[in-house]
C-alpha cells in the first residue's frame, strides 16, 4: 500500500465565511436580492419621504405620470406613487408575516413527522391532511367576517395559520428520504440528539429547498391577501398592492387607458416573487458545493 505524496493547499476558511464568499460572487443571488432590497427599501422609506395619506382625494384626477405625480393619479385624483409605496409596505408585511408563520409551522411539523416517523408521524400527518382539505379561502372569509380583521398583521397571521400544510408535507417527504442516509446514523453515533440532527444534518441539505418554501409561501400570502382585499375583507385603513389592482379593475382603469394605475402594483408583485425565485436558484449554488462554478 503506498500513499501518493501530494501537497494540497490548506484553506482555513470557515463554513460561514465560505458561504458568504460564494454568495457575494453569485450573480443570480445578488440580482434577486438586489431587486427585493430596492422594493423593500422603497416600501420602508417611501411613505416617510412622500408624506400624505395614500387614499386622500386630489384635485387632478386621471393624470398620466408627470414630475408632480410620478405614477400619475387615479380616477379620484389619488397619487398612485403614494399608494404604491404604502402598498409595498403592507404587501411585504403580509408576505413576511404570513409566509414566515406558515414556514415555521410547516418546518416544525414536517421535520418532526419526517424524522420521528411512526405514531408521531401518523398523528401530525392526520392533522396536516385535515387542515389541507379545509377550503382555506372560505375559512378566511368566515374568520374575517366574524372577527372583523382590519389590520395587515392579523390578516397575515390568519393566512399563515392556514397555509402551512403543503409545506409540512413537502418537508416531511424530503426529511423521510434524508433521514435514512448514513450520515444521519453517523451523527447519532457521534452522540447528537434529534434536534441537533435536524438542525445540523438534515436542514442544511435542503436549505435552498426551505428557502424556496418560504418564497412560495410569501408569494402565496401576497396573492391570498390580494384575493381577500378583492372581496372587501382586507385591511380597511391603508392600501395594499392587491387593493390597488382591485380598485383599478373596479373603476375600469384598463378600459379607460389608465395603465399607470395597475401596472406598478402588478409589476411589483411579479418582481418581488420573480426576484426571490432567481435568488433561490443562486442560493442552491451557494449551499450545494457540487454546483459551485469553481
Amino acid at each position: 500500500m503506498t500513499v501518493i505524496q501530494e501537497v494540497a493547499p490548506r484553506e482555513p476558511a470557515g463554513v460561514r465565511r465560505e458561504a458568504l464568499y460564494f454568495a457575494a460572487r453569485n450573480g443570480k443571488l445578488m440580482t434577486g436580492f438586489g431587486i427585493v432590497a430596492v422594493l423593500f427599501l422603497l416600501g420602508l422609506l417611501g411613505p416617510l419621504l412622500v408624506g400624505g395619506a395614500p387614499n386622500e382625494y386630489g384635485p387632478k384626477p386621471m393624470t398620466p405620470p408627470s414630475g408632480e405625480h410620478w405614477f400619475g393619479t387615479t380616477t379620484f385624483g389619488q397619487d398612485v406613487f403614494t399608494q404604491f409605496v404604502h402598498g409595498l409596505r403592507s404587501t411585504f408585511a403580509v408576505g413576511v408575516i404570513g409566509g414566515g408563520i406558515a414556514a415555521v409551522i410547516g418546518m416544525l411539523v414536517g421535520f418532526v413527522a419526517g424524522y420521528r416517523g411512526g405514531i408521531v408521524d401518523e398523528i401530525l400527518n392526520m392533522l396536516t391532511n385535515v387542515i389541507l382539505v379545509i377550503p382555506t379561502l372560505a375559512v378566511l372569509l368566515i374568520i374575517n367576517a366574524y372577527l372583523g380583521i382590519r389590520s395587515v398583521a392579523v390578516q397575515g397571521l390568519f393566512i399563515g395559520l392556514t397555509q402551512w400544510p403543503w409545506a409540512a408535507r413537502a418537508i416531511r417527504a424530503q426529511t423521510f428520504s434524508l433521514r435514512t442516509r448514513e450520515f444521519v446514523d453517523l451523527a447519532r453515533m457521534s452522540g447528537a440528539g434529534t434536534g441537533r440532527i435536524i438542525a445540523r444534518e438534515i436542514a442544511p441539505n435542503m436549505s435552498s429547498y426551505l428557502f424556496m418554501t418560504f418564497i412560495l409561501l410569501f408569494g402565496g400570502s401576497v396573492l391570498i391577501a390580494s384575493s381577500l382585499d378583492f372581496i372587501g375583507l382586507g385591511p380597511t385603513e391603508g392600501v395594499s398592492l392587491g387593493l390597488m389592482l382591485q380598485n383599478a379593475n373596479q373603476w375600469s382603469a384598463l378600459q379607460l387607458g389608465l395603465w399607470w394605475w395597475f401596472v406598478p402594483p402588478g409589476a411589483a408583485i411579479t418582481a418581488i416573487v420573480g426576484a426571490l425565485y432567481v435568488a433561490n436558484v443562486g442560493l442552491d449554488e451557494v449551499f450545494n458545493p457540487k454546483l459551485r462554478e469553481t
Binding site: I4, M189, S190, P204, F287
Partner: protein
C-alpha cells in the same frame, strides 16, 4: 465483551403498524476482545439489522445487547467504545459539508476541552494510522475524495475514540478490488492492536480472509457458528454448504446448488435451536419441509 442475548427484531409494517415482519429471531452470540467475527448471510437475512441494533440505530424488540455490561441505550458512553462504518462511503458524509467535519463532531461531543493544536495532532496521527496523507484529505468535500479515502476517514474517525469494537457493515462492497484489500489489511492491523471487528458481509471470501469466527445467518436466525476454518472446511448445515457451493471458482462452470440434504439435527435442538456438533462449532436444525 459484546454480548447479544436472544435478540429479536420485528418491524411493523402496514397502516398504523398493523402487521409485523420478524427480521431477526432469537440471535445470541458474543464477541471477545481482539477477535474478528464475520456475519455472513444473503440479502434479507438480518445481518445488517443485527449490526444496526448493535450500534443502537434500531431498537431491539426483545432480548438484550450489552457491551461489558453497558447497555446500548447508554448512548454516548457506549459509542465511545463501539463504532460502526457503513456500506456507502458517499452517503456516510453530509454532502454539503467538508469531509473532515466528522472529526469536529467527535471533538464537540467527546473532547470539547482538548486544545485545537493538540486535536489537530491527534487527527493527523489517526489519519496516518489509516495510511492517509492529512494534507490530501483535510479541507475537502466528500465528492472530491475517493470511496477508499472516505472509508478510511471513517475508520480514522472511529480511532479518535478509544473504541473496542468496530461494526463494519459491508464496508468494502462499494470499493474496487485493490482498495478493498487495502481496507481489509487495515482492519487486520487494527485487530493486531487489540480491536474487535464485527465484519458483516455477503461475500464469503472476504469473510474468510479476516475472521477467526464465522456466523452464518439465514432468515433471521443463526444456522451455523464456529471457527472460520471449521465452518468453511467442514460445513454442517445444508444452507452453509449451499452457500459455499455458490462461490464462483476459476475454470469451473457453475451448476445448480446441490440438493439440500435432510437435516440430521432437528431432534437435537438446544434452547435457541443450536446444537454443539463439536467444541465451539454450533449448527441449527435446518427446519426444512423435508426435515419435519
Amino acid at each position: 465483551m459484546l454480548r447479544l442475548h436472544d435478540v429479536t427484531k420485528e418491524f411493523r409494517v402496514g397502516a398504523f403498524g398493523g402487521k409485523s415482519v420478524a427480521a431477526v429471531k432469537g440471535v445470541s452470540f458474543e464477541v471477545v476482545p481482539g477477535e474478528v467475527v464475520s456475519l455472513i448471510g444473503e440479502s434479507g437475512s438480518g445481518k445488517s439489522t443485527i449490526g444496526r441494533m448493535i450500534l443502537g440505530l434500531n431498537p431491539v424488540t426483545s432480548g438484550s445487547i450489552t457491551f461489558d455490561g453497558l447497555p446500548v441505550r447508554a448512548g454516548k458512553e457506549y459509542y465511545r467504545r463501539v463504532q460502526g462504518i457503513f456500506q456507502d462511503p458517499f452517503s456516510s458524509f453530509n454532502p454539503v459539508f467538508k469531509a473532515d467535519r466528522v472529526f469536529s463532531m467527535i471533538k464537540e461531543a467527546y473532547y470539547p476541552s482538548v486544545p485545537e493544536a493538540e486535536w489537530r495532532e491527534r487527527i493527523a496521527t489517526s489519519l496516518r494510522d489509516v495510511r492517509l496523507n492529512p494534507d490530501q484529505v483535510l479541507g475537502k468535500y466528500p465528492h472530491q475524495l475517493s470511496g477508499g479515502q472516505l472509508q478510511r476517514l471513517l475508520i480514522a474517525r472511529a480511532l479518535l475514540l478509544d473504541i473496542k469494537l468496530l461494526v463494519a457493515d459491508e464496508i468494502t462492497s462499494m470499493l474496487d478490488a485493490s482498495t478493498r484489500i487495502d481496507v481489509l489489511n487495515l482492519l487486520a492491523e487494527l485487530k493486531a492492536r487489540g480491536l474487535s471487528v464485527l465484519y458483516i458481509t455477503h461475500d464469503l471470501s472476504l469473510g474468510n480472509y479476516l475472521a477467526e469466527r464465522t456466523l452464518v445467518l439465514r432468515r433471521g436466525s443463526v444456522v451455523e457458528m464456529g471457527l472460520t476454518e471449521r465452518v468453511f472446511g467442514d460445513p454442517l448445515h445444508p444452507y452453509t454448504r449451499e452457500l459455499l457451493s455458490a462461490v464462483p471458482r476459476l475454470h469451473t462452470a457453475w451448476d445448480d446448488a446441490a440438493p439440500v440434504e435432510t437435516c440430521v439435527y432437528h431432534d437435537r435442538g438446544g434452547s435457541d435451536g443450536l446444537v454443539e456438533a463439536e467444541p465451539g462449532h454450533f449448527v441449527a436444525c435446518a427446519r426444512l419441509a423435508t426435515c419435519s
